[in-house]
């Protein structure tokens, strides 16, 4: 009440840099040594990626002795890496899907637009993406076997998160429930999925689900993989949400119950708004994890961004430029995930500030 918080005195930036780099003998030595090692490590990489690189031309020009990275390969195969086997004359569809998803992501990232109206919007966008890619509304139709590249990575991650969310919410509430059997089932589900590697879950979706369905019934391969991704991450998301539920003091529930609210109303109006707000940054971080882990779809033969990049280097006219393909894919993943992690940090500060005031 009586104390006034003054901002701490800040030294000018160059001051901080000078003392951070050359404050004292030992520090100066470390700086020089680090610089030396860094230059020694970076120099071959720079030579490969910039100075000796081949920027335009054909595979022949890349095969010259002493040539570095063949970025001409990326130029030639860019369409394939981004959209894989989708028919080239229809590639406006995946391009439109990517644009739609990015636009919605930007919209949802701004706290100003946060409201429950985003939920139907996302569901509509996902359904629309599926219809657009499949060509149900605008023939010709394209089989999911031909889908690939960036749209798969984006849509699989977002659909994974979107469908995992309600499941995770139920699991987190069930894990806190006073009903023994419900609690045990939730714990068993969560711990089993968190205990096995994602690849095992994808194998179940690929190999076991077709066997377990009644004869004659079949689920599309991409859809099966999507279900696997969704269930796998719902277990992780459930733990994130549970951490949020634990933030809300038990007294709040008792207060809500004594006001005459029922269980569902208590959870919906009192507990969840506080719990979810506390874990939004953690959910953003988990979403980054989902984007990174959808690359495992490559192992089961789905052409996500990583698999498309890998396959692009098996083109007979551009054979073996794996390193270039992976570096390019890494840049795309990095751009998505680094933006996400910066956003998460920004959000954490903003939400933290909102709580303090």
């Amino acid at each position: 009440m009586s104390h006034i918080e003054l901002p701490p005195p800040t030294a000018p930036d160059w001051h901080r840099w000078r003392s951070g780099l050359f404050g004292g003998w030992g520090n100066s030595l470390v700086t020089l040594a680090a610089l030396g090692v860094f230059v020694w490590l970076l120099q071959p990489f720079l030579r490969w990626s910039i100075f000796d690189a081949v920027w335009t031309g054909t595979a022949k020009e890349c095969a010259v002795d002493g040539a570095g990275a063949c970025w001409a390969f990326i130029g030639a195969k860019l369409r394939f890496i981004l959209f894989a086997f989708y028919p080239p004359d229809l590639q406006w569809r995946p391009a439109l899907v990517v644009a739609l998803v990015i636009a919605l992501l930007v919209l949802s990232a701004l706290p100003r637009f946060w409201s429950f109206r985003l939920v139907p919007l996302w569901i509509a966008a996902l359904v629309l993406s599926w219809l657009l890619m499949a060509g149900t509304l605008t023939p010709p139709q394209v089989s999911t076997n031909n889908w690939g590249g960036l749209p798969i990575t984006l849509v699989a991650s977002i659909a994974g998160l979107a469908f995992a969310f309600p499941i995770a919410l139920l699991l987190a509430l069930a894990r806190q429930s006073s009903m023994g059997i419900v609690r045990t089932l939730a714990i068993a589900f969560i711990e089993t999925l968190r205990g096995v590697p994602m690849i095992a879950v994808l194998y179940v979706a690929m190999l076991i689900v077709p066997l377990a369905l009644p004869s004659g019934a079949a689920i599309d391969k991409l859809l099966r993989a999507q279900i696997g991704v969704t269930l796998f991450f719902s277990a992780y998301l459930a733990e994130v949400i549970r951490a949020g539920l634990q933030v809300v003091p038990w007294g709040q529930r008792e207060a809500a119950l004594s006001l005459g609210l029922g269980y569902i109303q208590t959870i919906r109006l009192v507990v969840l708004p506080q719990a979810l707000r506390a874990v939004i940054p953690a959910i953003v971080n988990l979403s980054i994890g989902i984007v990174l882990n959808t690359s495992l779809l490559a192992v089961i033969g789905i052409y996500d961004l990583l698999n498309a990049a890998r396959t692009s280097a098996t083109d007979p006219t551009w054979l073996g430029f794996y390193t270039e393909a992976y570096v390019f894919a890494a840049l795309v993943y990095f751009a998505i995930c680094f933006t996400g992690s910066r956003y998460s940090i920004w959000l954490e500060k903003r939400l933290g500030a909102a709580v303090r005031h």
Binding site: I208, S215, C337
Partner: protein, 396 residues
């Protein structure tokens, strides 16, 4: 409800405890459980039907049949014609090998990077920060593919890159110096390892619990056991020879050779985990409030003493559980071996599923291996939390 809250002289009996555990709506819960069981039974019978249609018998009998595939490399001796059980055991041994070596190397690299991040040198801290961001924002599988591509793009053994004169990098593998011990039998080095292990564990325990922080005694134990070991080894005629790899004609001879697949997987896992471990170390040390440093300084402790007596015991409480979960992650991530051709348990189980058609059993084996590991580690973690973290909390 109220009756269960008032235990009789012997405490609540089993029925009433069950009633409390069940909570409200017992009938509906039992129905839910029956429903879940029914779904599993339905899937199970469908799977059995499908397998019979394909001419397969569900069950683990196939484990004793002959496996007619080779495994690229294996710690356990294995060759085509051995049983599937043996092939899977070889795969498991390979998983353990890469995970164990990976955890040790990742810890060393991660702690070094974490310290560099905290060192106060701005340039070093910035480099490490960039390294961490780069690794955390790209998929591990992509990193593994990239390492694999880089190693396969290395020159053949004849033109292998040499580091420090004794480490050779080639597209056929990586060759490092090895130490071979002669005149050494199990009878001597098993007790020696056990003794050293016990001594280091007791040292670690002292470090971790931090309550009875009495370094001299622990240090003496370690030094003593090391002396005993050295004496025992020298008196029994130990000859340790260092085997350096050397180029000879078209190949590299001597030393320890690591296959390209193993090396790519190991370096990928280590580099990836070191990024998380460096962050764990940094956040653990930063979690100790600056007041603790100041108080220790005011007591006249030297920087080394502050770190050893005040900061580390507190930081380790934060660091240890996170480190263990990152070791667990590394082990689970080693399942990506299947994508770059290292024969780990997942890869061998996958091959088994493809050759026998027993996919369900193969996946059950994978799941059993990883679940056993994660559940036992999390049980240990709960024990640790109860012993260390909670005790610390209640004392405050």
């Amino acid at each position: 409800m109220t009756s269960t809250l008032q235990p009789g002289p012997q405490g609540p009996g089993f029925p009433s405890r069950l009633r409390t555990w069940l909570g409200p709506l017992p009938l509906q819960q039992v129905l839910l459980f029956a429903g879940v069981l029914a779904i599993f039974a339905l899937f199970g019978s469908n799977t059995a039907d499908s397998m019979h249609r394909m001419g397969l018998t569900p069950g683990f009998d196939f484990l004793l049949h002959q496996a007619n595939f080779e495994i690229g490399e294996s710690v356990l001796p294995y060759s085509a014609g051995d049983t599937y059980a043996r092939a899977l055991a070889a795969g498991l041994a390979n998983t353990i090998k890469v995970a164990a070596v990976g955890c040790v190397l990742a810890t060393v690299l991660g702690v070094a990077l974490g310290i560099a991040r905290l060192s106060g040198n701005l340039l070093l801290a910035t480099f490490v920060h960039g390294y961490v961001e780069l690794l955390r924002n790209t998929p591990l599988l992509l990193q593994l593919f990239l390492w694999s591509a880089i190693i396969h793009a290395l020159p053949p053994p004849r033109g292998a890159y040499a580091f420090l004169g004794s480490i050779y990098l080639s597209n056929r593998g990586v060759y490092v110096p090895s130490v071979s011990l002669q005149g050494l039998s199990w009878a001597i080095w098993l007790p020696a390892i056990l003794l050293t292990g016990y001594a280091s564990l007791s040292l670690a325990r002292r470090l971790l619990t931090g309550t009875t922080f009495y370094m001299p005694k622990a240090t003496m134990t370690v030094l003593g056991s090391l002396t005993v070991c050295t004496l025992a080894l020298t008196s029994f005629g130990l000859a340790a020879t260092i085997d350096l790899p050397a180029k000879g004609g078209f190949n590299i001879k001597g030393g320890l050779s690591l296959t390209p697949e193993f090396f790519a997987l190991l370096i990928g896992l280590v580099v990836n985990a070191s990024a998380s471990i460096s962050e764990i170390v940094r956040s653990g040390i930063q979690s100790v409030k600056s007041g603790q440093w100041e108080a220790a300084r005011a007591l006249g402790l030297s920087p080394a003493q502050i770190l050893r007596l005040v900061v580390l015991p507190q930081a380790l409480r934060v660091i240890t559980p996170l480190m263990i979960s990152s070791f667990l992650d590394l082990t689970k991530n080693s399942s990506l071996a299947v994508a770059i051709g290292y024969p780990d348990i997942v890869s061998v189980a996958n091959t088994t599923a493809n050759t026998t058609g027993q996919a369900l059993e193969a996946i059950c084996i994978i799941a059993a291996v990883y679940l056993t590991l994660s559940l036992s580690v999390s049980a240990l973690m709960n024990l640790y939390n109860r012993r260390v973290v909670l005790r610390g909390e209640t004392r405050r």
